[in-house]
Symmetry: C2
Subunit: 349 residues, 2 copies
């Protein structure tokens, strides 16, 4: 069973994989080539290579764990947290730990062997977002979990490993992640002072300034944030205030899929098909009865969004040690490159 | 002039290098080979390849910026912050920013072309630590600065670039880094409750348990922390309570140099010469008169230490998005490998 251990100094939880520990020799193995398509576990027709599916979209019917699906959710074969068991929160002297209980699911976004979500048809992306939303709703029913993190890794450097098949991932965690807690605290501070949502204020200022806006549609704004940590960091933010991705409207989901695809295409053109991570930041689960009052403030002050991070640089000692980031591409320039990118006509929203 | 921009949501400062902006093409350049020794800017005899020295250790005399030194401090040729100018703290609508004013110095730790500090004679390391201490004291006199971060990058992956010559770096910043603020807050919370230093408590518990201790000398304990973020993360902690590296005793400095070298040797043996970062965490500057009462609590509750992070893995989407880390080598196993490493007799303390 993996362990969740709490750093006593700053309160950060770390997942320690005690049961499949890496030895020194494991870090010396050279990077392997991507799996060829015939060995891909996620292609249609290879359903037996994954564990039994959790859900799938089969518009034309067809049996479970067979072909004929368009989006398919399976458990991760290398879960960072395990679905079975109790949390067993406990102390070890002055230290806090609990069992590494959680869910780790893979949302396979297409039956064909397409690597980059930039190249998926927008309706398929929409369907994958909808499926993610359903899975998050389902995971929220489990009282052991506080949050589900949706993310996507593209390219080996970004964590996608050897499998070049477009997918996103959901990890449900028994504690609210520190990054999200910090955002919630920042959003609340702003709301307490101004009685306005911080990110709504950001959207207004960015719309006036335009310098960091990549595009804006009926319901989504795409921008390079003022204090971007990374070159070409991009945020996709709904223009309607909402704390919870799970409550996005059908129109917002359609728009998000078109915008997501187009932004990925722009990054692909400008940065020559870079590896990237996409991360959804949304409100934590409301399944803890004693947290409902807390939830009400989050609903007012927090604003969900997706962060896109092309993996162009490596962090060095200064960043690790200080929590300062050094970004050598001002977001105004990144936004200009992305606005001016020549992308295929068909991708225009 | 680079800019410091504050993230409005979580309060993190980011350095935006506005005046030497990287274009998309700059990220596509393939990694270059290390510079051959004759081109190294830091070797003895190549003094004209750096800017004028800030200080140097010349036990046998010799003129400034000539040969005959053992440790030499020069300004960085690619400073992330600039020494000239005012901070000019200001707002841009709802955003906070200031000029990227600071100091960025390189401490060249040996006249010969030795890449890894593991291979330096311990007396040279001691002299380099002493020089770093002097530089930090000097930087503290500049009222624009709040902190000086000492760190070391070894290997291209860890940020050392093309120059394979052992050195550490000092960056003085006009704000206290977020990482340090979080540590100071955690240390204070513990002290307020227990009237004891958190890290002193950690040392006592680790000494009892022994499982995560790599070694202990007269004044230093080396351990793999309970909630290690990274495989083979190692901390070097003085056993005497002290918030400030700048007040280390001569005995502690000598001991630190021996221990630092030995730990680097152990990492080199166990992980086959890995790239790594070393980071000093110490109390912030006391040069802000209105912060003296604050300083008094820091003196009681904070405890300086060095964090060593071998760069064996890359962070993926989950880590970026959540602030959770996944560590596949439990610190108990890392400590055992490091204890059992067969290192050259001469390196034993």
């Amino acid at each position: 069973m993996p362990e969740l251990r709490k750093d006593p100094l700053i309160g950060r939880w770390v997942i320690i994989a005690t049961d499949r520990a890496k030895r020194p020799i494991d870090f010396l193995t050279p990077q392997e080539d991507p799996l060829p398509q015939p060995e891909c576990p996620f292609c249609e027709g290879h359903e037996e290579r994954t564990q039994g599916e959790i859900m799938a979209v089969r518009s034309n019917g067809g049996r479970s764990n067979g072909a004929g699906w368009s989006v398919r959710v399976v458990p991760s074969i290398k879960p960072v947290l395990r679905i079975e068991g109790d949390l067993h929160r406990r102390a070890k002297g002055m230290y806090d730990l609990m069992n590494g209980v959680g869910a780790h699911e893979i949302i396979v976004e297409c039956p064909q062997h397409i690597a980059n979500a930039a190249d998926l048809p927008a309706p398929l992306l929409r369907s994958a977002f909808e499926v993610s939303m359903q899975r998050m709703r389902d995971l929220e029913r489990d009282p052991r979990f506080r949050y589900a993190l949706w993310f996507k890794n593209y390219g080996a450097i970004a964590g996608a490993g050897r499998v070049a098949h477009s997918r996103s991932q959901l990890i449900a965690t028994p504690v609210t992640p520190l990054r999200l807690k910090e955002e919630l605290a920042g959003a609340r501070r702003h709301f307490e002072e101004k009685e306005r949502c911080l990110i709504c204020d950001v959207l207004n200022q960015e719309r006036d300034a335009q310098a960091r806006v990549v595009m804006e549609t009926a319901s989504m704004m795409v921008l390079c944030p003022f204090a971007s940590r990374f070159p070409f960091e991009v945020w996709i933010v709904p223009t309607r205030h909402s704390s919870d991705f799970g409550r996005a409207t059908p129109e917002e989901l359609s728009d998000l899929s078109l915008v997501f695809k187009q932004v990925l295409q722009r990054l692909k053109v400008v940065l020559d098909n870079p590896p990237y991570n996409a991360l959804l930041h949304t409100a934590p689960f409301r399944n803890q009865p004693d947290r409902i009052s807390h939830w009400k403030t989050i609903e007012e002050d927090y604003h969900w969004h997706i962060e896109l991070i092309p993996r162009l640089t490596r962090l060095a000692g200064f960043e690790w040690g200080s929590g300062f980031y050094i970004n050598a591409t001002p977001p105004e320039e990144a936004a200009r490159y992305l606005r001016e990118a020549l992308i295929p006509e068909a991708v225009h929203v």
